[in-house]
Symmetry: D2
Subunit: 412 residues, 4 copies
Amino acid sequence: MMGLGGLLGRVLDRPLSLGRAAPDDRAIADLCKALLTEAGEATGLSLAKTILARYASLDDEEKRDFFMTLARDMDVNAGAVHQTIDAYDSDPTRDTYRAYAAASEPPRQELIRRLNRVPGATARLVAMRADLLRLTDLSGRLGALDQDFRHLFSSWFNRGFLVLSPIDWRSPALILEKIIAYEAVHDIAGWDDLRRRLQPADRRCYGFFHPAMPDEPLIFVEVALTRGIPGSVQRLLSDKRDPITADEADTAVFYSISNCQSGLAGISFGNSLIKQVVEDLGRDLKGLKTFVTLSPIPGFMKWLGDQDVSADLSEPDTLRRLTATYLLDAKRGQGPLDPVARFHLGNGALVHAVHAEADISEKGRKQSAGAMVNYLYDPDRLAQNHEALATHGTIASSASVRSLAGAGRRLL
Amino acid sequence: MMGLGGLLGRVLDRPLSLGRAAPDDRAIADLCKALLTEAGEATGLSLAKTILARYASLDDEEKRDFFMTLARDMDVNAGAVHQTIDAYDSDPTRDTYRAYAAASEPPRQELIRRLNRVPGATARLVAMRADLLRLTDLSGRLGALDQDFRHLFSSWFNRGFLVLSPIDWRSPALILEKIIAYEAVHDIAGWDDLRRRLQPADRRCYGFFHPAMPDEPLIFVEVALTRGIPGSVQRLLSDKRDPITADEADTAVFYSISNCQSGLAGISFGNSLIKQVVEDLGRDLKGLKTFVTLSPIPGFMKWLGDQDVSADLSEPDTLRRLTATYLLDAKRGQGPLDPVARFHLGNGALVHAVHAEADISEKGRKQSAGAMVNYLYDPDRLAQNHEALATHGTIASSASVRSLAGAGRRLL
Amino acid sequence: MMGLGGLLGRVLDRPLSLGRAAPDDRAIADLCKALLTEAGEATGLSLAKTILARYASLDDEEKRDFFMTLARDMDVNAGAVHQTIDAYDSDPTRDTYRAYAAASEPPRQELIRRLNRVPGATARLVAMRADLLRLTDLSGRLGALDQDFRHLFSSWFNRGFLVLSPIDWRSPALILEKIIAYEAVHDIAGWDDLRRRLQPADRRCYGFFHPAMPDEPLIFVEVALTRGIPGSVQRLLSDKRDPITADEADTAVFYSISNCQSGLAGISFGNSLIKQVVEDLGRDLKGLKTFVTLSPIPGFMKWLGDQDVSADLSEPDTLRRLTATYLLDAKRGQGPLDPVARFHLGNGALVHAVHAEADISEKGRKQSAGAMVNYLYDPDRLAQNHEALATHGTIASSASVRSLAGAGRRLL
Amino acid sequence: MMGLGGLLGRVLDRPLSLGRAAPDDRAIADLCKALLTEAGEATGLSLAKTILARYASLDDEEKRDFFMTLARDMDVNAGAVHQTIDAYDSDPTRDTYRAYAAASEPPRQELIRRLNRVPGATARLVAMRADLLRLTDLSGRLGALDQDFRHLFSSWFNRGFLVLSPIDWRSPALILEKIIAYEAVHDIAGWDDLRRRLQPADRRCYGFFHPAMPDEPLIFVEVALTRGIPGSVQRLLSDKRDPITADEADTAVFYSISNCQSGLAGISFGNSLIKQVVEDLGRDLKGLKTFVTLSPIPGFMKWLGDQDVSADLSEPDTLRRLTATYLLDAKRGQGPLDPVARFHLGNGALVHAVHAEADISEKGRKQSAGAMVNYLYDPDRLAQNHEALATHGTIASSASVRSLAGAGRRLL
């Protein structure tokens, strides 16, 4: 946390001001072209700063125009691609490859890389893509531009560059206010509520950060340390519970995982985050034997509505049977239909248990009649579960869930 | 320094060990193919670790074979390129672009990105390219592979991701021993000599670091704070001088700049480094008015040998005239012939003064008869000097150097 | 902040657990005696921990008993003092002095020092003295015990051991919630209000910390950067103002200073804090020319009530005259009567200006009819102002305040 | 390490410069008196700085004079002590105690506390006491002055204020060069030798630091991680050994412990250091079962010379028997005669094993004919071993050592 929120932040945030460029009244598109053609980094940095500042002052309509310019005027040149790939194919040398590599990539990728040279630019480029996603229709040419952003971000936000950092009550307020803002699963009502999630001895929170955006969590997961696997999120989060010490816990419960950056859509961090946290917790707390989620089942009620069935969901056994059936049987392609199931099972977890009366909030009742599910992360079985799902569409589950699902099938 | 050598280092270095993979006796090429085809990150990380470990155990011959496999079997597919660029060109949509993007990039780039997901992998991949440069002939296909490494590294080691850090006598010994090892201009004889370069109040050192390689400086520059512009490196470095306080200095002298990573060849950091240091020093020490180098002239004697001239180089005026002429007149393309001049003038510096008896070491005598040169970094003129050189081949210089060069021309 | 809230904290907080002492059911007074007589640190640390834990479980009555035991049973032995000082006086050697030093100090001082060996004990001992101050009458023997605490704390919390740290929106929430709790002058309503005091570019906050209590600010001062000297705290704190950049400011306004630890009563930090902040700000922001407070005048209305005068305080000029007279004329001993004036003038500041309608809060109206005062900290005059006050009772002031005070005298 | 060498260091080292005092040409003794009488901290800090600077410029003779002045002119006043202790004894109140407390302490203690307010002063005061110890005869009055220093330092360097920090190859060179300089047991020949002690996976080093002297280790211990208990320091330190990983180790060997500050003589850190390191290592490396020293026996040969015995010490069994006898039987008071034994047995360790041919250096041969001893630190028995030694003079030992000692006795 320190290294990020503190030291690095101060180093990286410091804006360059070499060269004292005169105000530049060229159009932003012209500035971008100039940035690509002028070789010098002196001019380049100053140009890049001007472009980023100019972009920040655009309104939504002007941003759309700017994106369209990038999409159209800085696209790949098909003729050059044909020509250079032929040259390389017939005579594969360093020089023919260099020509091909230059031609095959649209110039806007190099533009984005050059903009990124400005200290602090990475967060602005992520915000730029968030604008693109928010403001435009991506099915056409602009989808190609988005693809370029995504390609670059995927390389820059490579797992090897991310830093896992605990987030706790010692973390900078600057970071914590973002945790309040970004929590997507179980709302955090304010600073007192946040403290209840972070400060007790049986709570943990971890986030991924990128060194060039030290004040911005990319994704974070909230963890409860418990004895036994919990079946109710309200009980789990109750401030009336007696917190246990970390050493007393045998189970780590991932009860909320939230992405923070809409501009990084499509770049997946959750899998790595959970696995890294499982590993770190397991090393630090030798008493932990079980790593499990307490997850919503957001697609259940909608799916049930599509089935021709009348069932009394206030009856816990009925509800548990039907959710088990939903989780094991309802598919989209080879994977599970439920989006949360898709994520955890795709990571190699298995469906471990289902609970009724587990989330009695309005949202919980609405999406799953109050039911929740534990996905179990067993380090020794993650790879094979994942493999079985990817190859054969097999959904891993516990014997008791399979039995419930069988009973549920008979209700349909 | 702290953030890097310390906190981040500990976070990033921690190796993942999820999944406890059984020893894998497939060939390294097969492992690489598996890494590209299997989707799962669980398996992926473990595979990537296996590949990196396997690579580390190869001998030079096997490394050559491995590189050739990457170059040949993971190359771009010309047919797919033709087909997908046509599809995109006739119907530019997100989907046609995605297909093109996938086809236009050789699979080995994705392989390198996936290898990089392992914590600590970046330094290994840089070392892998160093092997490639050391072991192979790059004129053919292997040059294409090298181009891919360089392309990725250029994106990963973008200026926006680098951290400028002071290096001083409080820095970790782990870093300092590398400064001793990498110093390329004026040898550092050992720890005592190093202390003389770092600890006195009139010495500074700065390096660029990448957060994923916190123990490895990428490039560093050594600075002396002086009153007036020095004309002798031996006097500048003499341990008999009386150090001045930083506040007394009016001049910052860049007397040595060293690249550290042969695996990052072709990715230029020096320009950014010097400019950032000029800016930081100028902000922290208000008394500094002049930023200047004290640089070798490595190509002078060779050039002079090619001229048809007999001159008494032990005569200081003669030597200064001829070096001035060399620096202003001897060209390669539009740029100066001398490699050090090429670097500084390309950055926008100008030839400010030349000195005889300035480097009386054996190396100094041999390459330039003991002459050295000051290149002046004037923040207000960097952009225009650079521009004039890039556009017209104009080499910026002081009036006195131009006058010397004129006198030197008459000696030729 | 980092070093304190973070690294040091973690190192220092780690509790020792060597020796695994069996539960000890002796009375706390007996444990204390044992701690003083048993030489061994192994036993000692464990005993000290037991004592601190036992103390924490006492109720107020039991704490009073415990304090009385310390006061009575661990007091200085007059006979031994007489005897050892005579021996030293007649034969001043190392050995006679050692005997005297041992006899002259009550054993409870050594007890407190031994308790302090336990990591984290310092904060507990400070809290113990806060209990003493809260629960007991200090005029008798318990006052002697309090004197011993104060003597030790005065040595431990010596200025040379304190760390000045900026407190800002990057500080740990753990620290920030204490700033909200301890603010004593102008209430902070919650986290949003706190952010308004910390985050804008024209706000600063600094606190003193002790390395052994890294999570506890000892005292903090809130600073506003302004153009010109402000005359209204409501305008100064208004969230409708346009924040200026730090470079635009010419004045630093200390508008609130709060002690945090009641257990450190009588140990003065404020003087050092203000002077250090004046120095640090002056070095970092070259534009700052004026360092001034905007202070309440808490004793004014009470003093005025004791004068035989009827004046219309809603008339700004009348109010300003009378407050000036109060500040310059009303004395307690040689010093000013007003407690805030006493503090700042004692530090060497001078009465620079008085303002009506400056604090229109209920509290402000009640204590000073809304008037406030600026005390000016002029680094070049602090020593002589202080000296003149200490020696001659001279209160330093500006000419305009003296003139107002003269006019005020005529109203009395 | 970071927090100390880095952050804190920078905060604490920053010198105050408020008040810009004119050069003060009073004698140092007069300056000291002024510091005690003038109340103001503004003047006080500046005075204290002047005094410290003046002291630094004194030659040895002048330092002796200065110490004598402190000893004589700032001594305790016997008359005042008699009078105030009587007043307190007959009427124990806060006020009578305050008067007694003021009179019973010599004014030089308050002088030293006021000098310590200057940032960075603590290290200078420690050096001042080192001068006192080096330059003067302490048997008389100067011994009283030394006692005052020791009393204050004992309070300031309380275990609760010390920070245990690992020292490794990432530590600042500034710290590491002091490790080379201060190593007292087995010389470190230079930086390469130091690296061999710090960098391998089976080596550790820890030191105590005080936050106000972050660049100065107070004491440090060097540790080797081994399989089994070693019997030869040359083999232990051999750079030809194959380092094991930390996880493979079952034993931690404390093979060198060095005090660094002669000015802190008589203030014991070693006991706390070893116990804290035992605890930390035991928590971090679960495989460690045995904590043991490999210690010299510096008094053996001298003791043996005093016995009337002729024995062939080149015979390993003979040597081991006699060293066992020496360690168990040779006493000074209740404790062991051997100084190293005194230290470890006083800490609660026991004599575990003795080895011949264990230190074949010249020094090792000379002081103990090459023999060494393992003292075992068993956390569960430290308190009782210590107790038995302190109460009954019982030296704890293993059965095998007792048996050797028995055999040895028969040789005498």
